[in-house]
């Protein structure tokens, strides 16, 4: 099943090195309602692995990672609690 959800919040972490994108995500995920999606835009290769790993550690859900036309990814995370 593919899940198409418009993000409730987009965090622009392009050009930022890890762990900054993760720090931004951890702080800002609390601004969106439960079960809604946050999109992290990042181009540090570490973020591609680290956002899903953060979701696993923090029991949020990694919805998917989508390549951006200009490089990097939109990494979608669903707030679970």
């Amino acid at each position: 099943m593919t899940e198409v959800t418009t993000p409730a919040l987009t965090i622009d972490a392009l050009g930022k090195k890890c762990p900054i994108p993760i720090i931004m995500l951890a702080e800002q995920i609390n601004y969106v309602p439960l079960n809604s999606v946050v999109a992290v835009l990042a181009d540090d290769p570490a973020a591609y692995t680290d956002v899903p790993a953060w979701c696993r550690l923090k029991s949020h859900r990694h919805v998917g990672s989508y390549e951006l036309p200009g490089g990097g990814w939109a990494i979608h995370v669903r707030r679970n609690y």
Partner: protein, 377 residues
């Protein structure tokens, strides 16, 4: 100052130092010449070969010395692929192999060969069934698997994979760089590689053992040295020292590696209790005795390494900010674990419980401060 980076290089073993100083005086001549000084160098070289072969479970004539572990992997992988060209041009490797394996695989691909990389679990272990499915492919010329991972310590199921390779008639190259001298060499290898400076020998000596009956042909210009497997004049004094270190290390291993493994166990157990938001990585039980890796959420690995250095601890990291490539370690990526805030501790022979306790005492405050400075609540 506590040195916790044995997986990069183990300090020179005192027995290696003694052997090296002696051999520099008596083993300098060309071992391939017929006069007295040469016969002495030749004797020393062959004695060292026998000793290394015995510890690694090989026959002396199967063992060649290279100039590094990396060179042993390059020559071993590409030489076996070359020797088995008629069988096919397919290579199978694990996803968390040392970069020397992956770089040899890239060269093989550029040269028209094919490569399949078998993924690993969250703990960094290859699945023997998945590995067997990969080597079952028609035209597989070689498979490569490490004895234990260099970054997270996870021991690979080499014996099972070797059995699977045997069933399919595929030679297996085992990269034993992290375990030679510490753990027994797993059975079933066709090609074995190791590196002396990781077991307390000097830098500049690697081991390439090719099991009798394995098709092997060096891809380099012909040279008579080392059974035509490795070109160039052998560094006899360093090889003699490497053999002395390996014997000493292997003799001490049952007791010393158990002791180090207990210290690693203590670190694995304590860190999640004293540092919040931390992930201890790798197999908890099936692991190299001396290696433990963890990642701290929201922490810049380079900053943490700098702080630890100032606090008197030499450790390593797989975080991208500490790598020359600006990419996180391929090992952590393949495992799907946190790559930032990563610290690898690898205990050398003689590391003390006091040093470990001191590390565990200073780490929580360093991590707390780095997080605080980065604005993490």
């Amino acid at each position: 100052m506590a040195y916790f980076d044995a997986a990069s290089t183990e300090p020179l073993h005192p027995r290696a130092r003694e052997a090296l100083l002696e051999a520099v005086d008596v083993g300098w001549a060309d071992p391939a010449r017929p006069y007295t000084q040469s016969r002495r160098a030749h004797l020393l070289l062959e004695q060292a070969r026998s000793e290394v072969a015995e510890v690694l479970g090989a026959r002396p004539d199967e063992v060649s010395f290279t100039s590094s572990g990396t060179q042993a992997v390059h020559l071993g992988a590409l030489g076996t692929l070359h020797g088995r060209r008629r069988a096919g041009r397919h290579l199978v490797t694990g996803a968390v192999e040392h970069s020397s394996v992956l770089h040899a695989a890239q060269l093989h691909e550029r040269d028209g060969g094919t490569v399949e990389t078998v993924g690993v679990s969250l703990t960094g272990r290859v699945d023997p069934a998945a590995f067997e499915a990969a080597v079952a492919r028609e035209g597989t010329a070689l498979a490569c698997l490490q004895s234990a991972n260099h970054e997270v310590g996870t021991v690979q199921p080499v014996a099972e994979v070797a059995e699977a390779c045997r069933r399919h008639g595929v030679p297996l190259l085992v990269d034993a760089a992290q375990t030679a001298g510490r753990l027994p060499v797993p059975a079933g290898w066709s090609v074995l590689t190791a590196s002396a400076h990781k077991w307390g020998g000097p830098a500049g000596v690697g081991v390439l053992a090719v099991r009798k009956g394995t098709r092997f042909r060096s891809f380099l210009p012909e040279d008579e040295r080392e059974r035509r497997r490795v070109p160039g004049f052998e560094n006899v004094p360093a090889i003699v020292a490497a053999a002395a270190a390996l014997r000493a290390m292997a003799e001490e291993a049952p007791e010393e590696q158990r002791r180090l493994s207990e210290l690693v166990g203590r670190i694995r157990e304590t860190i999640p209790k004293v540092v919040p938001d931390v992930e201890v990585i790798g197999e908890p039980v099936e692991r190299a005795p001396h290696i433990v890796t963890f990642s701290c959420l929201y922490v810049d690995g380079e900053v943490l390494l700098g702080e630890l250095d100032r606090a008197g601890f030499a450790v390593s990291s797989g975080s991208s900010c500490t790598a020359s490539t600006l990419r996180p370690s391929h090992v952590l990526e393949a495992m799907g674990v946190l790559t930032h805030g990563n610290v690898r501790i690898s205990l050398p022979r003689g590391a003390t419980a006091d040093e470990v306790d001191r590390f565990l005492a200073v780490l929580p405050e360093l991590v707390r401060r780095i997080r605080h400075d980065a604005g993490v609540a």
